[in-house]
Amino acid sequence: MTPQATGASPRQLEDGRREDTPDAHPLPGPCDTPALPETGPAGSPAAAPADGDLLIAASLLLADAALAARQAGAHLTGALTGGGFALQALRRPAWAAGTALSCLRALTSRAGLGFAANGGAVGEAARIAGNLTRRRPAAVAMAVDAFALRIEAATAAHPNLGSSHARRLTDALVAGDRLEAVRALHALVERLGVTRALTTISPVIMELLALIGLLDENPVNDSFSWVTLAGGVPTTDPLFGLPCSLIKHLNPGPGRAERADPDPILAKVLGTSRNDIVSYINDIGALGNHGLVLLRRIACTDGAVRHVLLLPGTSFGLLSNSTPQDLVGAFDGCLRTDTTYTRAAKKLLKRAGVPAGSELMMVGHSLGGLTAMNLATDLDVASEYRITHVVTLGSPIDNKRPADHTTRVVSLVNKHDVIPTLDGRGPASPHDVPDSWVELSWLDESYDYPLSHAPQAYSDSLRGELAHHRDRVNALIGSYDGEIIGNQPYMLRDR
């Protein structure tokens, strides 16, 4: 199988246009969906959208309806429990009784909103009671079907999701049958092995976690599901509902940066390096995942001196090690912006004496890309330096935004790679990246994780059939063409 550039998901070009693959159909955004049936009535073949698009359009409609129903429930709950109502009730008890009755009827009607009280202390208590007694309001029913439609839509681009074992798992989770889901997952792993099973369900992993959150009896993890449905950034974990900020306690340390000497392999690779995306990926590969990063100084052809920071990704050996490049750091970087990696990188920039106002490009793989984006969101860094480019490889960055609106974000994604979907944006997710970003994605022959995530897989793809993507990225970073006048590796530590 040769690598294929794909446009099945909403990918943006630099000028805001979609990826120009022949089978690309722009996904309707939430605002577009209400118009869909009006412009394409039943029986109008000319207006009939493609299968996947119809499923996604329907999922967006249902998601919007679910959020509207939930909000309507919150409004009525607020009306009943607010101080204004209590004051009026003292003055007009008969009116209050009638109003309370009609509000309660609307909030508990099985054919309408269901058990829809939420918001505020009283509303949340009622919602928790409903959750524990497995009452499913209309909003939850619609949200579940919205996720089911997303999963079905993703199956079109990822046929393995349609296999009987995968479908058994997804069906069980949509039905809220967790015992059957565990059995199905066990069968899937037995059949495919851990890595292939993970790869199979990875395109819809966020949807599956959101379904668990909605349909279990834990009332405090529901916000994960609603945020996922709305296309936002979850602030709790999907299983227990613990706040993401807790992870900062697992990844402490002020960060430290020390100059290091390149080993012979790294020195050899750096000796042939240049301003080329494939070369940068090879440099990152040579840096390894044991804490080394590289700061490069370039005398550019226009006379300016610019800097490039290369940031490798996670070491998978241990959950936590002495460097910022560990698994805990990866979760921390995904959920927050101030991490040991960013702190250490900021110290590196200070220690290296990068002049204030210098133009800086950051290239990162996986956690390194996340860290590059986290640094770009940091007001201190964005104020001190002119971050012109953030180039990421296989990084879940879609829920982050650089502080400087002129920073050019280039995201390279192998769609077999699990990691970029961890930001919650799967193939059927409703939210999109900003128009100014350039996201280039493809399917290559590296199917299983972790091979699909390796820098070498990205490098191989861009060197071969996807050379046009390489040319495109190189054109975007052309201002960094020039003579390399300094390559300084730094060893980053947590403390």
Partner: protein, 493 residues
């Protein structure tokens, strides 16, 4: 030559306690609930100042508090003259803002504009009529279903408008510029200020190098239309050390942003509440807002070197507390007369930036704030704004009006007269929200039903199942909308 009188220990204690109590949440809730303004923290602090004014013949008094020992002039005129004397002697260091809990906050250091122009010349009508109106129309489009503009929409919208007016169209999107400016102001007086100010200047440089002709950034490059005036003269005619254009533009942006975000909103709230002093139009409303709720209600001016004023020796190391916003009390008779406040005093301390001797940028900022008020009260396709929160009555001016507590509705001109905006947190306001929610659910029901009617669902059992689910949800939305509408009818009764 005399030294300032010192307040009595009891006066110091009451003033200090009032500041300290502001740090305790809900400490003055009972007094507030009972409408006893003079017993609230603000009321007590202002009461002490009023007492000092009456008992010390209005001469400045030294107040000792846990937050510092301050020399406090007790009238606006004295404040202006004392600060002017200090500034003329070059004795004053940059001011910091003192909030009502005694905390100090950095103020963006005052920089005179590099052009001694009246505000209408510095900011031509074209810059207000076109670009600002465009930004405000964009903001108006972000109104909620009940036509209300929330603080979360107002603040970024007006910050964007300020950047557009001051630095040009290219800066409108530059949220980083606003953040850098805020952080530089916070760091004023600390060692971090220089680097942060330098970053702001770097950020502004491109906007000055290629200025938008409809922005203030273009003014230095614009040919003079009036008589030539030496550039190195201040707004009040005295020679100054007018700095770099970046510094002046940064200061102007800071001041215009504050006026557009805070003062304009307060002026609109006063207009919507029907305050007599705001009835004279946008200029009167803005002047009233600045008079009663100046963004820099209290500023501390450190004295670097000794100077004298009207026979009073002010020693180096003294801190002058200029608090025109605190010199008005809850029982001030002007509150009841509806007398219109005076426009910004020329040469007096600026309520927007804390400058001791006036600020031309503040005059520009006032003009922008007036344009914002004019847009929402006269120009926009909306009727008179309605104040949803907080509850203000025309006969009782509050001592403070925090902008984030203000919620205004701007009903469209053609809005149904039977559904006027309701005050926040009342059954009527919930009824309006419920009606809007019911309408939304009805729209969703129609969309879901239409989607289910699409021919693309034909083909297999799975899709047919999804189609049926869509229809079920459409029915449920319709039923829920009906229930909610019935509840809304009861709530609105």
């Amino acid at each position: 030559m005399t030294t300032p009188a010192t307040a009595l220990p009891l006066e110091n204690a009451v003033f200090s306690a009032a500041l300290l109590a502001r740090r305790l949440p809900w400490s003055d809730a009972p007094a507030r609930a009972l409408g006893l303004d003079s017993l609230t923290c603000e009321g007590a602090a202002r009461g002490v100042l009023a007492h000092l004014r009456r008992s010390r013949s209005g001469r400045p008094v030294r107040l000792r508090t846990p937050f510092g020992s301050f020399l406090v002039p007790l009238g606006p005129a004295d404040t202006a003259r004392l600060l002017a004397a200090g500034a003329a002697a070059g004795a004053l260091a940059p001011a910091v803002r003192l909030d009502e809990a005694g905390r100090r906050h950095g103020l963006h250091p005052h920089h005179p504009l590099p052009f001694p122009a009246p505000p209408e010349e510095a900011l031509p009508d074209a810059a207000l009529a076109g670009p600002l109106a465009g930004e405000l129309r964009r903001l108006a489009a972000a109104r909620r279903d009940d036509h209300a503009l929330t603080w979360e929409a107002w603040r970024p919208g007006l910050l964007r408008a300020a950047r557009r007016v001051v630095a040009g169209a290219a800066a409108a999107e530059d949220t980083l510029l606003g953040e850098m400016l805020r952080r530089a102001a916070e760091a004023a007086g600390s060692h971090a200020y220089e680097s942060r100010a330098a970053a702001v200047h770097r950020r502004l440089a491109p906007y000055l190098a290629d200025p938008d002709p409809d922005s203030l950034a273009a003014f230095p490059a614009r040919p003079a239309t009036g008589p030539a005036v030496p550039a190195a003269r201040a707004e009040d005619g005295r020679p100054t050390d007018a700095g770099r254009p970046e510094e002046a533009l940064a200061h102007t942006l800071a001041v215009v942003s504050e006026a557009a975000v805070t003062t304009a909103l307060q002026a609109l709230a006063l207009t919507a509440a029907g305050m007599p002093g705001a009835a004279g139009g946008p200029a009167a409303a803005v002047a009233l807002a600045l008079d009663r709720f100046p963004p820099v209600a209290a500023a501390v001016h450190p004295v670097r070197s000794r100077f004298a004023w009207e026979g009073l020796a002010v020693e180096a190391g003294t801190e002058i507390l200029a608090a025109p916003g605190w010199l008005r009390t809850a029982t001030d008779p002007a509150d009841d007369t509806g007398a219109e406040p005076q426009p910004l005093p020329a040469g007096g301390p600026s309520p927007l930036c804390g400058s001791p001797t006036g600020c031309a940028a503040a005059a520009v900022a006032v003009r922008v704030a007036e344009a914002v008020v004019r847009f929402f009260t006269e120009d926009a396709d909306a009727t008179r704004p309605a104040l949803l929160a907080p509850a203000l009555t025309p006969d009782r001016m509050p001592l403070t009006l925090a902008p984030h507590t203000v919620l205004l509705a701007f009903p469209a001109a053609g809005a149904h007269p039977a559904a006027p905006p309701a005050r926040a947190d009342t059954p009527a306001s919930y009824a309006a929200s419920a009606r809007a929610g019911a309408d939304r659910l009805d729209r969703h029901a129609r969309s879901l039903a239409a989607c289910a009617a699409d021919a693309g669902w034909d083909g297999n059992e799975t899709r047919e199942r999804f189609r049926m689910r869509l229809l079920e949800h459409a029915d449920r939305c319709t039923r829920a909308a009906s229930d909610i509408r019935e509840a809304a009818r009861h709530l609105a009764d």
